[in-house]
Subunit: 420 residues, 2 copies
Amino acid sequence: MIKIGILGVGTVGSSVAKILAENADIIEARAGKKIVAKSGVVKNINKDRGVDIKISNNPLDVIDDPEIDIVVELMGGVEEPYELVKKALANGKAVVTANKALLAYHRYELQQIAGDLPLFYEASVAGGIPIIGALRNGLSANHIESIVGILNGTCNYMLTKMIKEGVSYEDVLKEAQELGYAEADPTFDVGGFDAAHKLLILASIAYGIDAKPEDILIEGIENISQSDVEFAKEFGYEIKLLGIAKKGRDGVEIRVHPALVKSSNPISKVDGVMNAVSVVGDRVGQTMFYGPGAGGDATASAVIADIIEIARGNRGPMLGYKKGLESGLKLVNPNKIESKYYLKLKVIDKPGVLAAVTSTLSKFNISISSVLQKESKIEDRVRLLLTTHLCQESDIIEAINGLKELDCVGDNVSMLRIVE
Amino acid sequence: MIKIGILGVGTVGSSVAKILAENADIIEARAGKKIVAKSGVVKNINKDRGVDIKISNNPLDVIDDPEIDIVVELMGGVEEPYELVKKALANGKAVVTANKALLAYHRYELQQIAGDLPLFYEASVAGGIPIIGALRNGLSANHIESIVGILNGTCNYMLTKMIKEGVSYEDVLKEAQELGYAEADPTFDVGGFDAAHKLLILASIAYGIDAKPEDILIEGIENISQSDVEFAKEFGYEIKLLGIAKKGRDGVEIRVHPALVKSSNPISKVDGVMNAVSVVGDRVGQTMFYGPGAGGDATASAVIADIIEIARGNRGPMLGYKKGLESGLKLVNPNKIESKYYLKLKVIDKPGVLAAVTSTLSKFNISISSVLQKESKIEDRVRLLLTTHLCQESDIIEAINGLKELDCVGDNVSMLRIVE
């Protein structure tokens, strides 16, 4: 029999305890052993968790309990769970965590500390989708060419509503908060940080890149407006918050930002709170994994899958490799990222404006792919929309600064990246 | 170092040897050990395989070689590979196979014989998509509610061409044969047998059902006509050859047949030679796995993933469970399957015909959902298309026989199942 202790018995933690009890037969058949949730740790011991396990408010009641085989860490946060996970490993316990922030910052130290003890984390990325298993095991024969993922259900829900129903950013955020999809302070989701944590985990398994959130480009969806949505619709794009890790000539680009995605790309069809991850391997070609990215039961499904793997005696290095994966592969500086861009300008409607704009772009080596000038005026200005050919992030940023110096443009410039 | 011997060095076998050499660094990093293809066995020893391994025409040169750790079986067929795999296991070797026919017939005996030796088969279903890993490991906390898969790339390629480009069945089959997607005798693919073998493997992992191809409903795409394609287009359906394993009140339905799939269902968007498997679990909800279902490198990617798992020391029961999975769960008799149906009739154009048809259906408890009568005549007859509400397979078969007895109908009735 395997005994589990759960640090953090919230939505996911109570689902773990409940499913271990309710699906006990099938879990025992698959694991080859009985698996039982013995105890849990919470901050507020007076709140009823609706589960039949021993509850305490002292993490050591789980971590130092010699009967506990596997510690499940579902607390959230970074430094506190880091200390507790280290203690659990020091006590010889296996660990399962769904904590992407912990792994975004400490995955390499944890791999080192864990050594031969299993430290599994399927639930940390894309909830119920077994994407960690796919990358660690199923696609392990491949050099990974790219990972493109919809990794945050809250943002995807909001963008889907904005583009399909024309709801404004402010209204859809309020709605998402009322539905419990977004927190009171939504920054972690809408700012792209949650997606970035998950992407860094995937990028480690795929490329062995040891990067922190600070090292990569992270942009959220806060500035997506109705005019972006209208442009997207008119030109056959969807707008998605994407996590992208991609190998190029100069290394690996790792970035999170909203992007215009062609409607012919299958990932553009992933709507609402669903997540999806597309992985291209040099041998397998394109694969895609789709499913619910959040929710107590879906996330608990992934936590228990890890527990079953541990019960079966399966190991394998935490990040899927034992030494440098692809030697010399390094993170591309965010300024050196290459993309196609969509530029949105509001310009004063007078002769020579288009010439001024296009010659400024040309000065910064930006080659224009398409131009759309909208007839309708907004406060004496007209909307000018451009898309570019492939160019470098630093060039587009300089070009945008150049455009802002034009009297006919001023501060009225914004940009979105285009993903084919 | 792990040494591999390959039984059958054809398209997939030579890809395995080539990738093990070309991606050796990344494979060693992920496996924690060097993995080398040492030798292979072929029927025709004089044909150049383009790979740098020792080739013989005697399987025992691999199976009895004490240096070989893992035997990779890529021969095809059933009884010959069965005997060889048994011998390899008896010699204490791990086995990796891509042979779905072998597993469709002998997976339970092989699980028994393998015991604690790994016998892995990720490549046997849906080529490069790690769907076996997803079911065995990633979704192992779930009771599986349904599996719906596009499991045969040849059929999907043909149906996509028929529906998107209006090509006839005969022409698209010829084209598929010229492109190498279909064999000279295409029965195994177009008759649904290949998909059925794969589905039976998935159904074992999900439900523990020990069924053989003879026990389940298998229909191919040979009778799909242009009029079916036109109906599908007009009513917002795609036509897909689906493998379906689904738990209902009375047990598990396992069936392969062409189906009308609503265009809003994501699986309807899977076109060409691609495969996809949608799995619904009681806890995770809906997941979908998409990728290339065939091809030397994609299939070899899955074979090598298994080899890496074995090198890492990972085991787990072959079919993902150690004893009866869901006790009492049994295969539903093909006659008891429930579905919605689409009926296609050519009827003589005279008063009272619609009344005769509808009253016959009602006599057999078939409730009609929609009717479409086409104006244009074909040899004095008009096309009558009906869809039904949910009913039982045996009832619809009896009803079709009843319709055939009507003078105004005769033999001009055919049927397709509808999947929502």
